[in-house]
């Protein structure tokens, strides 16, 4: 679980939709701001637990935020 090149996410988009700063999201989720930044940049792949917490906070499923590989281009994620 390192700097996974295949894992992408839309946290930044969801943050913008909810008008949230990284600091605020980090506080709510219970992590450091650097962790949110690292996840957004794809440098750190979060654990399932953290991914669920992020998804639940935004009220969506994990698949709507996190994408694996080329799922987005292949149209696997709607």
């Amino acid at each position: 679980m390192g700097a996974g090149k295949q894992m992408r996410n839309k946290i930044k988009v969801f943050r913008a939709m909810h008008d949230l700063t990284q600091e605020h999201l980090a506080q709510v989720i219970g992590v450091n701001r650097q962790t949110i930044l690292a996840i957004e940049k794809g440098k750190y792949v979060p654990s399932l637990d953290l991914a669920f917490r992020i998804a639940r906070y935004f009220g969506v499923s994990i698949e709507e935020i996190f994408m694996y590989g080329d799922e987005e281009q292949a149209g696997l994620v709607q």
Binding site: G2, Q22, L37, K43
Partner: protein, 151 residues
């Protein structure tokens, strides 16, 4: 307890340990600093649990894990290499004197004096500290260390 208070306590403990190290050397009692070191580390761990604003999330844990793992991977190789050298000393058993009349038993040269072992252990300790700090910086960089971004 605040984070800064914790760091202050750690600093004071370190200074106290240096003082105890000096004292145990003066009174020639190594056990004193050994026990004090264990007690100090245990106390720091206990105090650390009371810090309220020191947030350690899974990414921090991951960085620490990786740094410790890599440090230990290097350390055990270096330590084993040194230990193998020390075992050689055990294998150097005295041989029977040859010739007639038999001379005095040969005096075996000391391969590793206790003083040298102390120096080597000091070197290993420093190596571990430098390796750990280096690996921490490296993995913090890999996992998105000090980047700054937006809001």
């Amino acid at each position: 307890m605040k984070k800064n208070t914790f760091y202050l306590i750690v600093g004071c403990t370190a200074i106290a340990l240096v003082g105890l190290f000096w004292y145990s050397d003066v009174v020639r009692m190594p056990l004193l600093i050994e026990v004090a070191f264990i007690v100090a580390v245990a106390a720091i761990y206990l105090v650390r649990r009371r810090v309220t604003d020191l947030k350690e999330d899974e990414r921090d844990v991951k960085i620490t894990e990786q740094a410790v793992l890599r440090t230990m991977q290097v350390f055990w190789v270096v330590f084993c290499a040194f230990s193998i050298g020390a075992v050689m000393q055990l294998l150097r058993t005295p041989t029977f004197p040859r010739g007639f009349p038999p001379g005095p038993p040969p005096i075996l040269p000391e391969l590793l004096s206790p003083r040298l072992i102390g120096f080597v252990q000091l070197g290993l300790l420093c190596l571990m500290i430098f390796l750990y700090v280096g690996f921490r910086i490296y993995y913090a960089g890999i996992y998105g260390g000090w980047e700054t971004d937006e809001e």
